[in-house]
Amino acid sequence: MNKPELLVTPLSVQHVKKLCEAGADAFMIGEQRYGLRMASEFSKEQCQQAITIAHEYGKKVYIAVNGIFHNDKVDELNDYLLFCEQAGADAIVFGDPAVLMAARESTPHLPLHWNTETTATNYYTCNYWGKKGAKRAVLARELSMDAIIEMKENAEVEIEVQVHGMTCMFQSKRSLLGNYFLYQGKALEIENRKEQKNMLLHDPERSNKYPIFEDENGTHIMSPNDMCIIDELAEMIEAGVDSFKIEGILQSSEYVTAVTALYRKAIDACIEDPEAYEEIKDQWLEEIEALQQPHRPLDTGFFFKETVY
């Protein structure tokens, strides 16, 4: 049985080292100029440092170039991809076909991971991007376990699945927080807060609180709960899912390290001794529950939830 990769989004260069020691196999980093919703900003220099550390440990680093680009940034893509290749990145994560076009021109040998978040919803389309040059598809978070397994069974590309943390529900190009503050005439009073990532949209009807923040790419709204399926990994490991991702955005580095260490144990146990995994998995879930902030309950995302249309 193939051992899936454990992919984590680190919060700093130092954090990469800690996560290597906690058992992460790969990292996704980047900066908001090119990547969406990074757990932390990694300048080019920091990317270089992170790659050096990760490679010392024999781990991989993927750089996020998954923005929705307008003409103004398109001309920078070739240079940024060249930087990624020279820095030793193991892959580029993209969503916009412009990146694919730029990669064909400047870095044809740099592996590409296709990740638009919401639109990777069937295996045919994953394979389509595979034919265009992607080595891996990152599945939409709004899929059930059964759909994920079916996609892996029919995929000609590697399949990455998020197993833990927050997911993005919404991205607008508009400055929705800034506009609201301006409308209220309180722009000066609170304008500087909008990027602090400590704001919540309160939905009284569902008693949910959704993190909301702004950056260069617009306004982002995140899921109200942290997805956690540390106790439901067996089926996906058996199906051969290639990479499990832990999302570190809006979490502390201590939290991400602790969660990474637990998933490391869980994946190893599931491969080496599936019975032991079944026995101990509830305990790991409890350990993660104990780490949660009061306003961030755990759930299982869409793995066991039906959606209609």
């Binding site: 929705i68 730029a102 919401t118």
Partner: protein
């Protein structure tokens, strides 16, 4: 490679510049009646939804028979029909897709509007005679991505609503492909295709047509301070809202025509026939007037007023003219803006007796002032005198939906003309 420079947008005839590349006016239709109205009022093409694979599971979607009838009807006017098949499909949606696309082809549909490469590739394989247009759900925002889709063999791309006029100009110059942009109607506040609020909040899949429009609800804004959550605004403040004003680009039409944009699209498959007729007829007039004499063109006040008569919300230019600020969103109480209602559809007009036969679509009465409008005519108002029902009985009010009534109208009317009333 500079398309708009080599492609002739205008030419000089008898010393006067005229536009030779007239863009297509593309209108929405939620059912066959709306399709016919759209074509009748001047749409060059109409987009509709079929029974599956479209993004409005609540819209009145077309059966195969209705689709065929729509295509046949449009053909008589030289108009085209496009079908929206722009869901992001899940594995379970793959079965049946080939037959569905073959059905669209055999109905004579000119093109499909698609977001998912699954549907693009399947259409190319099983229904190659059908044009493939990339949906705005792909949030296409730059020229290099436009080039990608051109190389994939697409006939046309519908751009993201986040693109500006300057950006579209550059795309048009760098890539030789048909470009379609939205000019009027409601729009997503999020990047289309990148919003799953509905999935999370109501378990309805937004990218398969289930969107519950949770972006239009009101919210409170909190901040977390030292682990403590507190409201950022008091009860007296307006709640946090994300609703955009509706798009209205009537004043940008001249620029769009000069740029060589190929298709100008009106949103709204869920909208009424009154809405479709009003919006299409106004944009028809704007496009025709500009193309006939671009250098002397001015926007007429009456066109702007006419558009407002069917407006559901406040309007704005969104991203076409720059980055939208708070004035382009709706905060606080925002009720229905419409001051007019559709009151009746003209079925017949007798030139000699000056009696109109009309199908009632909303309550009206004797003594009320109403307005008539239609394609290629000047609007006029009149006070209604005596009203008769089909049997010749005199009525004070026309209160039954779809009731056939008659009354005298001084100026000539034609079937398909409409009557609206001001709301009091």
């Amino acid at each position: 490679m500079a398309t708009s420079k080599t492609e002739n947008i205008s030419t000089i005839i008898d010393g006067k510049r005229v536009i030779v590349k007239k863009p297509e006016l593309l209108a929405p239709a939620g059912n066959l009646e709306k399709l016919k109205v759209a074509v009748h009022y001047g749409a060059d093409a109409v987009f509709i939804g079929g029974q599956e694979y479209g993004l409005r599971s609540n819209a009145g979607n077309f059966t195969w028979e209705e689709m065929k009838e729509g295509v046949e009807f449009a053909k008589q006017y030289g108009a085209k029909i496009y079908v929206t098949t722009n869901i992001f499909a899940h594995n379970e949606n793959i079965d049946g897709l080939e037959d569905y696309l073959r059905g669209i082809a055999s109905a004579g549909v000119a093109g499909i509007i698609v977001a998912d490469p699954l549907i693009i590739e399947t259409c190319k394989r099983v229904a190659p005679e059908v044009e493939v247009h990339l949906s705005t759900q792909q949030s296409l925002s730059n020229w290099k991505a436009v080039k990608f889709w051109k190389e994939e063999g697409l006939h046309r791309v519908v751009l993201a609503r986040e693109t500006s006029g300057d950006e579209i100009q550059e795309m048009k110059e760098k890539v030789d492909i048909e470009i379609e942009t939205f000019i009027h109607g409601a729009m997503c506040i999020a990047y289309s295709g990148r919003c799953v609020l509905s999935n999370h909040m109501t378990a309805r899949d937004s990218n398969r047509g289930g969107c519950c429009q949770s972006c239009r609800w009101d919210y409170d804004l909190y901040e977390v301070d030292n682990g403590e959550e507190k409201a950022l605004f008091s009860k007296d403040d307006s709640p946090f809202a994300m609703s955009p004003k509706d798009l209205k680009l009537i004043e940008s039409i001249p620029r769009m025509i000069e740029m060589g944009i190929d298709s100008l699209k009106v949103e709204g498959r869920m909208k009424s026939i009154h809405y479709v007729a009003t919006v299409v007829s106004v944009y028809r007039k704007v496009i025709d007037a500009y193309c006939a004499d671009p250098d002397k063109f001015t926007i007429k006040q009456e066109w702007l007023e006419e558009l407002d008569k069917c407006a559901n919300r406040e309007t704005a230019t969104a991203f076409f003219e720059g980055v939208p600020g708070h004035e382009e969103q709706m905060f606080g109480v925002h009720g229905k803006k419409t001051k007019y209602d559709f009151a009746g559809l003209v079925l017949d007009y007798n030139e000699e007796s000056k009696i109109v036969t009309l199908q009632q679509r909303n309550y009206f009465k004797r003594g009320q002032e109403v307005e008539f409008f239609g394609p290629g005519m000047e609007n006029f108002t009149q006070i209604i005198d005596k009203i008769w029902d089909e049997k010749g009985n005199e009525l004070d009010v026309a209160k039954h939906p779809l009731q056939i009534v008659q009354f005298k109208v001084e100026r000539p009317l034609r079937p398909q003309n409409m009557m609206r009333k001001e709301l009091v």
